[in-house]
């Protein structure tokens, strides 16, 4: 790292080139066709034997990317001012960033093995209104990174004067408290409950009955042994090989998923430091994420079938986001028990979470049963009845199979109806939903950005309505088919809380 020049601008460590090299390879992987097209064109045009072509191609690629990474390091300068971080970057396209401390929602760090040995860190900033990291300082000294983080955290905050805010301001400055630690067993649970593996299981699920039957036949016929010993390709030995292949893929997927959990969350620790929660974890690259509790917009708890089996939850704290779908600024707690989740909720929304819970087993108020009638009519009966005459011409009476869609879809609608629920707290709301598993989202009234009520002709007849609540975390939270009078009363109360609150939503 260089010392600051007369104007205060300084360079990061030359090892930042490693960070940029990683970024360049990531970008190439994302846009493989566009990125590698010039190289491919060169290789096609170049006359020579294939080995020379490959050596020249790979050499040119490596030299080019390393040179670009070094240039990006060389042209990167930063300056830490009184109230902001200034960044100048770019080789051809120059960028100047001025990230005000007050806009920074979270300071995150990453430390790969090389940086760990050299005592360096990559610091990135999440800011209000950006959909991801707005700026990064690669390969700066760990001490300097910690100073910067502490300085941003110490930014003066005017004492709010409403009741909830007063409670927030009065929280005593205390030493960091450990809220959660994940064990090796938890890594296995995270790996086994990974959504990607779960999705694959859903795809393979319908095949399981067939596989079980085949497995029975295989055992009876000793075909597996025959296949393994003689290698003769009979029909049954083919099925046995198929079963082995699927099982093998599943085992490999689970192992990869568990390894991924170790890589990302090894020695995961969640610490509360005043009003900031900080998580650290990772086997090769240590990730440190932090979130200012005051900036959290909503809490999302999820529990799909596998997590339900383990009696665990996944918790996400969402911050303000410019992304339409609210991606980019989530603070993830990959695994926690119900009790830990309750304790964490109180940390995120101190003193304002009374009467609320993220536990899906709580006494949520159900939506109207008319939801069933409407949804089954639209999603189950109507498509089936329309499909029959269309299919009849092609397949004849076999078109009646379309009627099977009705009970299948009705079951899904019933599942969704049973899971939908609303829980009202003193200062916020929680909404439960889901199809197979559960999702619960909770937020405070004072964080709401806008609110709408919609009525379809059917809902108007039944005096029902759908309430939509929009938060700065992006997207809408829907409460369908509640009584119209309740929906309007709730809307008016939320508006009253938003408009009378003197505390900021962020």
């Amino acid at each position: 790292m260089s010392n600051p020049d007369a104007t205060g601008w300084q360079r990061t460590s030359p090892f930042a080139a490693v960070f940029y090299l990683g970024k360049i390879y990531q970008a190439i992987a994302k846009n493989a066709v566009q990125s590698l097209a010039p190289l491919a064109a060169f290789l096609v045009a170049f006359k020579g034997d294939p080995t020379t072509k490959i050596i020249i191609g790979v050499g040119a690629f490596l030299i080019g990317t390393i040179l670009l990474a070094f240039l990006r390091y060389w042209f990167f300068r930063y300056r830490i001012g009184d109230n902001s971080v200034l960044i100048r970057a770019g080789v051809f396209k120059k960028t100047q960033l001025d990230i005000k401390f007050e806009r920074i929602q979270a300071v995150n760090t990453q430390q790969n093995i090389l940086f760990r040995m050299l005592g360096l860190l990559t610091v990135s900033f999440d800011t209000a209104g950006s959909s991801g990291h707005e700026g990064s300082l690669p390969a700066i000294g760990a001490g300097r990174a910690r100073d910067l983080r502490d300085r941003i955290r110490r930014m003066p905050r005017t004492a709010p004067d409403d009741e909830a805010a007063a409670g927030h301001a009065e929280r005593p400055a205390s030493s960091p408290r450990t809220l959660l630690r994940l064990t090796a067993g938890d890594m296995v649970r995270i790996g086994l409950s990974s959504n990607r593996v779960f999705l694959l299981l859903v795809v393979i699920g319908p095949l399981s009955e067939y596989l079980e039957r085949s497995a029975g036949e295989i055992i009876e016929e000793n075909a597996l042994i025959e296949f393994l010993t003689n290698g003769e390709a009979t029909l049954l030995s083919g099925i046995a090989a198929g079963v082995l292949l699927v099982l093998g893929i599943l085992i490999v997927l689970f192992l990869v998923s568990i390894a991924g959990a170790f890589l990302r969350f090894h020695r995961y620790e969640l610490v509360a430091d005043d009003d900031v929660l900080r998580s650290t974890g990772g086997l090769l690259t240590r990730h440190e994420h932090s979130v200012n509790c005051a900036k959290v917009q909503s809490l999302h708890a999820s529990q799909h079938v596998v997590l339900r089996l383990f009696r665990r939850f996944r918790l996400r704290a969402k911050q303000a986001s410019a992304s339409k779908f609210g991606r980019g600024s989530d603070f993830l707690v990959p695994l926690c028990t119900g009790d830990e989740m309750t304790a964490l909720s109180d940390e995120f929304f101190p003193q304002e979470f009374s009467g609320l819970t993220l536990d899906p087993r709580a006494a949520f108020e159900r939506i109207s049963r008319q939801y069933l009638r409407s949804r089954i009519g639209i999603a189950a009966v109507l498509p089936a009845l329309l499909a029959i005459p269309v299919l009849w011409g092609a397949v004849g009476p076999a078109a009646l199979v379309a009627l099977l869609w009705i009970p299948a879809c009705a079951f899904m609608v019933w599942q969704k109806y049973r899971r939908y629920g609303v829980l009202r707290g003193q200062d916020g709301l929680a909404v439960r939903s889901g199809l197979i598993g559960y999702r619960v989202v909770a937020w405070l009234h004072r964080k709401v950005q806008r609110i709408s009520i919609t009525q379809s002709p059917f809902q108007r007849r039944k005096q029902l309505a759908t309430l939509r609540i929009f938060l700065a975390a992006g997207g809408a939270i829907k409460i369908p088919y509640i009584e119209y009078a309740k929906a309007t009363a709730l809307r008016d109360y939320v508006l009253y809380r938003v408009e009378s609150s003197r505390q900021a939503w962020h």
Binding site: Q449, Q455, Y496, R502
Partner: protein, 173 residues
């Protein structure tokens, strides 16, 4: 002295029984003109396909002209039905907008959540001296509330009023 009187929930102001402000009287006509232009463009496309020596089934043109006719009729008939059901109401602390014929929606945006306000106008809007008012709150990449068909002068004065209201309601962090 500090006072903190309790507010009965039933006394909260309701966002339903409001004096809804109607959109510009010529907004129906403007929508009809826009729809006719679109229909005319589709008609030109269908006609071009019919005149070109292409090996196309004649039934395709029948379908095309049916589409032109039906879209023309619907786009002429729909605005007089939908526009009167749209309206906005300004209250002391929020703006409320209603829309929809079959699916009726009422949206409320508190002033202290408005990030910025825009007015936009297309050439056709300007021909009719109209503009659209767009309010942005946090957490959305698009406009949160868009009120089309306002008289341009009203939209501009409303924009300035909303900006003033939003600026006056800056909260403490």
């Amino acid at each position: 002295m500090f006072e903190n009187p309790e507010i009965p929930i039933h006394d909260l102001p309701a966002a339903d029984n409001l004096q809804w402000q109607k959109l510009d009287a010529r907004y129906v006509r403007r929508l009809q003109v826009e729809a006719l232009i679109t229909t005319a463009l589709i008609a030109v496309g269908v006609l071009a396909l019919q005149l070109l020596p292409l090996p196309l089934d004649r039934r395709l043109f029948f379908g095309g002209w049916l589409l032109v006719l039906s879209s023309g009729l619907v786009s002429l008939a729909w605005p007089p039905v939908s526009v009167p059901r749209k309206g906005y109401a300004l209250r002391d602390k929020d703006i409320v907008y209603r829309s929809g014929v079959f699916w009726q929606t009422v949206t409320a945006v508190p002033f202290n959540r408005v990030q910025h306000v825009e007015t936009t106008s297309t050439p056709l809007d300007r021909r009719f001296s109209q503009a659209a008012l767009q309010l942005f709150t946090a957490g959305s990449s698009g406009g949160d509330l868009k009120i089309d068909g306002m008289p341009a002068g009203v939209a501009e004065s409303l924009r300035l009023y909303l900006l003033e209201k939003a600026g006056a309601s800056i909260e403490q962090p």
